[in-house]
């Protein structure tokens, strides 16, 4: 396992090695320069002590100080190649060197330690921050805990780390297969209000045991993790509570709107029919037919509302699972127009279907419902005698269906909202809708892996456009579906 962080203490062996190699190098260089100048050699040796202290710490600095002292004594003071010292001034110089080397080494290594402590603190802070941020974010918890375990692995040079909590488990282990587990430490994840699982860290058998500062840091991390998990759990509860409030507000709105929607056509049916039955009522044949036509139209409207509500209930219950099969969108368009011909009496319908349209993977009944709802909506906003255009064409890997009306259009800021449940636009002279048609259309199209949007039609009006993925076998435009015995002419 590669140690990711420089602040890990250098092992004792390598500290000694650095402490030995640095002065040896210094003495070697001084000798190579052919100099017997004690002053120059002293400067080089002092440099070696600084390097050793800075790179490998206090111990290394001390070792380097004494070795340098001996080296200077052996090679550079007369008599050479003995540890005896002839001149008193050399003794003073050597002792002064040793003292200053020890002091400088200590200072340098302290600086180093300070720096590595600061680095480590920064790393800890970063780790805690990322962990907290990710806990608050909406990332899946398993991933967050895995990331945290991975970070611990690097920070402490672990063989493996596992964070086990009631809301998920995160694990990380080194890729080295031949690691034998050594020291294993398990720290509970606790906050004032309870326990949130355990953090278990394992170091390889050939690594040193956890030092007290490392244990302290692990405990801090465990406490922070526990807090973060607690906060995440609380956030979840708060969100849940808020959703429930919203849902009950929605239910209330739904209830009052549904009551109104159901009662209106029902009232007009009842009024019309009882009016015909009323004693002493005088209707001409034409008036009677007119009243009965109202009854039929209102019953159709009631049926539409009930159908929409059932669809909404299916969507809410997650029961709107499309039973997909390869189908031709132009056939569904034809069948929907056929079924809606009575409501289409006051508008003109023009269809533009590209020839050789590929098939789409969809539920024909549900897509029929989508088209019905979109066309229903278009009719509602269409002035008498205007045109509704229905176009279908291939676009890359989807078939795009576009229903365009010549109504007043939808302002840009409302184009997304028309797909929300119970959002209604003012239909002007026409009858209001249930506020559900387009919401259901969107839910169905999305369940099919498609998209739906409203945009401005050229020359005013609205274009509702939806796209459905093309059936796999039809995706290559040069290879239309073929059938044995098929003869194309």
């Amino acid at each position: 396992m590669k140690k990711v962080l420089a602040s890990r203490p250098v092992s004792r062996g390598s500290a000694l090695a650095v402490g030995a190699v640095a002065p040896a190098a210094a003495v070697g260089i001084a000798l190579a320069l052919g100099s017997r100048n004690l002053a120059a050699a002293t400067s080089l040796a002092l440099l070696a002590v600084v390097v050793a202290g800075a790179v490998a710490g206090r111990g290394s600095g001390i070792v380097a100080s004494f070795l340098s002292f001996l080296g200077l004594n052996f090679f550079f003071t007369e008599p050479h190649h003995t540890l005896a010292v002839r001149h008193a001034s050399d003794v003073v110089a050597l002792v002064a060197f040793l003292l200053s080397a020890l002091i400088v080494g200590a200072l340098v290594s302290r600086v180093r330690e300070e720096r590595s402590r600061a680095e480590r603190r920064a790393t800890e802070a970063r780790l805690l921050n990322t962990a907290t941020e990710r806990f608050i974010s909406s990332e899946p918890l398993g991933g967050i805990l895995d990331g945290l375990a991975e970070a611990l692995l690097g920070l402490f040079g672990l063989a493996s780390a596992e964070i086990s909590t009631p809301i998920g488990v995160g694990t990380a282990a080194t890729g080295d297969r031949e690691i034998t587990a050594g020291q294993t430490i398990s720290i509970p994840l606790e906050t004032g209000s309870g326990s949130f699982g355990d953090l278990t860290v394992v170091r390889a058998a050939d690594e040193e045991a956890f030092s007290p500062p490392e244990l302290g840091l692990l405990k801090t991390l465990a406490a922070q993790t526990a807090l973060a998990i607690e906060r995440a759990a609380l956030d979840g509860e708060v969100r849940e509570a808020r959703l429930q409030v919203e849902a009950s507000a929605l239910r209330a709105a739904l209830f009052s709107s549904v009551t109104h929607d159901l009662r209106t056509p029902l009232s007009s049916i009842k009024a019309s029919a009882s009016g015909l039955l009323a004693e002493g009522a005088h209707y001409s044949e034409e008036e009677r037919r007119d009243v009965l036509r109202t009854v039929v139209e209102e019953a159709d409207h009631l049926n539409l509302i009930v159908g929409n509500l059932l669809d909404l209930a299916r969507i809410r219950a997650g029961a709107l699972v499309p039973s997909k099969q390869p189908m031709l969108i132009d056939e569904v368009i034809g069948s929907v127009l056929q079924r809606m011909r009575r409501s289409l009496e006051h508008v003109a319908v023009r269809t533009t279907i590209r020839p050789e349209l590929p098939r789409v993977d969809a539920d024909p009944i549900q897509i029929g419902q989508v088209l019905t709802n979109i066309i229903e909506n278009a009719i509602r906003f269409s002035p008498r005698g205007s045109e509704i255009q229905i176009a279908a064409a291939r676009w890359r890997s989807v078939v795009q269906v576009r229903v365009t009306d010549q109504g007043p259009g939808i302002p840009l800021e409302d184009r997304e909202r028309v797909f929300e449940e119970f959002y209604r636009r003012d239909a002007g002279a026409g009858r209001g809708g249930t506020g559900l048609g387009l919401a259901i259309a969107r839910a169905v199209v999305v369940a099919h892996g498609g998209t739906i949007q409203a945009s401005a039609a050229p020359g005013g009006g609205t274009a509702v456009i939806f796209e459905l993925p093309i059936t796999k076998e039809d995706q290559h435009p040069d290879r239309p579906a073929t059938v044995p015995g098929s003869v194309t002419t």
Partner: protein, 233 residues
Amino acid sequence: MTRVLVIDDEPQILRALRRSLEAQDYDVATAEGGEEGLALAAAHTPNLVVLDLGLPDLDGTEVIRRLRSWTDVPVIVLSVREGRADKIEALDAGADDYVTKPFDMEELLARMRAALRRTDDDLASEPEIRYGDLRVDFGRRLVRLGDDLVHLTPNEYGLLEAMVTNPGKLLTHQWLLRKVWGLGYGNESHYLHVYVRQLRQKLGDDAAMPRFIITEPGVGYRWSPDASTASVS
């Protein structure tokens, strides 16, 4: 007088149907359950059966199967079930047509007339059939649109023949595949997609605004029930 048997467990529906059908001069018998309906069918030999699927004693599809074991009387299903699977099951059991509730009486009457006309004239035994400017000569297997000969492949012709001899009837994918391609077929809906498209193209028909071949999405096809334009020569 044409005898119609209506099997439905909702008294209000029975009452409404009885009124409307009698007003159209049908002789109406009603049953509120499957067993009662089957017994009435045997006793009265109706010319047509209107059947609800959700009956208290027997499932409507089972009623169709039992009827089909001894009679070819046209059966029109009248049901609130609008799922594809329900429709296909009832049609494959032998129903002629499927109308979903709430229904339009005019629509039901039109479907009934089409079904009754199919039993009256056995179109398959006619030498030629005509729908507006479309003429199908069964003897010589020739199809003309106006004055032009329409060149069809054998399968296209088979498909056309299966449809024009059953005007107004809802023909399921499986039925058509078996009829045209043979008994080993039934799930190859894409064959139909391809052939129906080719046939429409050759007949100048438009899937989005059909004149001849009407689609029941996911279920099957129906030759335009507007049989008033049909004439046998």
